[in-house]
């Protein structure tokens, strides 16, 4: 599904070049759950942004679902993003003035769903993330874990094939964090590809593969051995 080859990202600020990513090679297959780990400032988030078609890169090849990203126009990238990618953030990024169900509904507006379909789909998703009883609450009335559930709901409403999560448990306590991780891995079980940036090896243990990055380079890749039940 995702193929990166020799991908390089350089930031230029006041004449100083910073190599955020240097010749990164990475493949993610459909249905995989990959964790990206590494110290602060190593380029994890930059990588995630590039994969999410939010940021550009300088060199190398990036193929997303058989499409060479460097050949896509902005409009095509926007279309690809809103149809195929869902995002989950560390700080949830819910919109304060919208209720739970409105926040979840938001992506469908930009996909041109009818009112009927939107309503139907929101009900399904509310059920899936277990926030039906809080549908008319505002984000500031919810706990962090609940907010993140809403954010996950928003990420999956358009049935994306890929979910990008940037430290989804970073602002949560361990109980709430586990709930979110359970939710994400359930999505993965249902076939959604997941790429997650994380600091926590506990969270990473939910994934199938861990990619370690340091100073913009992939230093190791290893499979996670799941405990058998």
């Amino acid at each position: 599904m995702i193929k990166l080859h020799n991908l390089t990202k350089i930031y230029q600020a006041q004449g100083v070049e910073t190599r955020a990513l240097s010749e990164v090679d990475l493949r993610v297959k459909k249905g995989e759950f990959v964790s990206i780990m590494g110290p602060s400032g190593c380029g994890k988030t930059t990588l995630l942004n590039i994969i999410g078609l939010l940021d550009s890169y300088n060199e190398g090849l990036f193929v997303f679902d058989d499409a060479n990203v460097s050949e896509l126009t902005e409009r095509q990238k926007l279309k690809l993003r809103k149809e195929k990618i869902g995002f989950v953030f560390q700080n949830f990024n819910l919109i304060d003035d919208l209720t739970v169900s409105e926040n979840i509904e938001l992506p469908l507006h930009y996909l041109g769903y009818s009112v009927q379909d939107r309503r139907q789909r929101v009900l399904e998703v509310l059920e899936m993330v277990g926030m039906g009883h809080r549908r008319d609450f505002f984000p500031y009335q919810l706990s962090g874990g609940q907010q993140q559930k809403v954010a996950v709901g928003r990420a999956i409403i358009a049935k994306p094939s890929l979910i990008l999560a940037d430290e989804p448990t970073g602002n949560l306590d361990s109980t709430q964090g586990n709930e979110i991780m359970e939710m994400l891995s359930r999505l993965n079980d249902e076939g959604t590809t997941l790429i997650m940036v994380t600091h926590s090896s506990h969270d990473a243990s939910y994934s199938q593969r861990i990619v370690r990055i340091m100073d913009g380079q992939v230093v190791s890749e290893k499979k996670v051995l799941h405990a058998q039940f």
């Binding site: 939010l54 995002f87 990024n93 919109i95 003035d97 930009y110 358009a158 940037d166």
Partner: protein, 804 residues
Amino acid sequence: MPSSKFRFALRSLYRQKLYTLLNLGGLAIGLAVAITVSIYLNAEFNFDKHWPNYENIYRVNSSFQLNGTEEEYGGSGAGLASLMKEFYPEVEEATHFFSFENSVYFHSDSVKGYENELLVADANFFKVFNCHFLEGEVDSSLTAERSIVISESFARKYFGNKSALGQTLNTSNFEYQVRGVFEDIPDNTHHNFNAVISEPRVASDTLSLAVSLWQVSHYTFLKVPSALEAQNVEANFDQFFNRYMAGMADAVQAEYRVKLQQISDIHFNTNPGFDAIGGSLIYVYGFAGIGLLVLVLAIINYVNMATARSLRRIREAAMRKVLGASEGDIQLMILVESTILTLLALLLAFALVEIGTKVLPLTNAIDKDLQLNFKRDAYLWWLPLVLSIFVGIISGLYPALSLSKVSPLDAFSNKKGLQRQNNIPRKLLVGFQVAVSVTVVITAFFMYQQMDFIKNRNLGFNPNDVILITAQDTNSVMHLQEIRDNIAQSDYVESVAMGASVTGRGAYRGIFEAETEANKGFQRHSLDFLRVSRDYLKTMQIDLLQGRSFLMEDEQDSSFNYAIVNQSLVEFMGWEQPIGKKLNTSFNERGEAMLNAVVVGVAEDFNAHSLHTKVAPLVLLLSKERSRVLHVKVYPNNIYVALDDLERRWTSMVPNAPFQFSFLSRDLLELYTEEMRQSRLILYLTIIAIFISILGFVGLASFTTGLRTREIGIRRLLGAGRLQMVNIVFKELLWVMLVGVLIAVPLAIYITQLWLANFAFQTEIKAPVIVGTAVITLLIGYGIVALHSLAIAKKNSVDSWRGA
């Protein structure tokens, strides 16, 4: 989507109550002011346009040529209307009327009261002025003597809900029968009226008609098919003149022309001689200007605050982009939201106007109906709407453009607002705002001062403690001399004099033959004159410069007439030896002067007219008859006791006549109602302008301190004192205010000078006022900044430097 957008907009408003209050409130006030001013302007510019076929209704103004000078009057002679209708086939209808100078006491069976705005008109009045009759017949309403046609509200006052038709209304002397009731006419009517009384029928012979055509006593109105016919009437007046007026022309040695003025043109082009009080374009433009400024201030304010506020939504915009919103989606969202907000402000503005005009003494203060009336002011349906949408788009434009360009990557960062460099355009706008409001304040101050100056100007006579008693009926007029003598004996009275009219409220105008200095015979001039009794100069405290006052013997001397002239007349005639000069007036149809007077004294100039006009040459004729008004100067300490005594003496002399009094100083203020009304309006507008500017500054201050919250927190952590912190923020805003003030001061002086140029007597432009305004402006600015920075400093500094 639109409905959800509306819901979201409302919701975010509710969550930011203070911001909403300041921002929407400010805009709503600005809009409310603009709406109110527009109602006022609309009324001013549509004077008399409510009459059906107003473009075909013309007033006949008179123009006299005498000794090479031309004088114009808004009025004309009695009888002109019917003669013109007869003479000119193109005149469809013609009417004449005059208006009562003072209020008249009316009583029905159960109700009594004083009424203003009464006209006495001929039977054709309502054929020219098409009032909507609720009761009675237009054609027959004024044909019978002692008929009265009254307005709907007049009828309601005296007869309640009963039919007024056929009822009787009494004045102190007469009984009138109500022959019609018309729907109230709008206030913006130049010759306004609440009731019309049929004119008494007098047998008119050709001779008296010939004389009356030369005397300005009535207003004549014609109805013609079109402007072309009006021009014809004016152009062919020679034939009319030759037929009816030429005979007297030789006798008075004057020429006479008519000038036709369309009724809707009268209000702003009133005639200095003989006219009702009109409007002033200077003031109207002044209001329009200040109203517009207030609106512009409010809009700038709103745009400023909305922009500043929207920058807090960078993360939201970024997030929406992550979720698939295009630039267009974001722009549309912001524009829709901001337009919804301004429409809300508009609703609020209408509510403010509605409540404001009812609760505030506005209508009273400026004596104009400013209430919302969508039927009368049809533009209110669309103009404010268009304006609000425009403001909505303007205020949404910058946020829409900048937010739509936000990178979706910002969703990941913790940035909460834009960085400081984006502050400059906003500072410029607020600088402009400071400049505008300082200009308005300084200008308004001097306008107010000028009004005050005019009001308190020395008139040349002293109106204080002068009680006026007006004789209303023939009986009291006949006995006025004896009443005067009786009142003069009162211990409370310092001095008393009779006059044919109220001093200071205008003079009569007549043609005089005045003896020249070098024995070169007589010159004819049209001069102002007053008819007064002895003790007049003493009562009014007018200085006598030469000669003597009128004496008791003069009053008893039936063989000769006496005159006192003012200093201006002496200069006008070039008299070196004014005492003993002869003045003749009151010519009959053979051109013979019926009144021959000799000058016995010269008085200091005083303002016989309102201060709108300069002092002109004036003759005081000793009056032996026709006096109507007693001027009673009382000792200042016991005015109310004095009044009781005056009433007792009046009633003992003429028991059946009502004792009607007023205070001269108050009567004179009525001459300046328009000015007082205007200065009050200017005051209100200024207060609002200041208020809105303060709002704008609060917005900027909160924005600036908001941006520097983190810095303030860190400084506080490092031990900075409170005052130091206020100063840090204030320094950044100080130059904004200084630039504003520096622009404002010369601008204000320029505007003030421009405005003052319209007055003969001008107040001074004083530096302390200007410096004071500037200093107060800076102090207010400092106060606002201080409040904001201190509030932030008080908060936990750990929160602020972490930028949370």
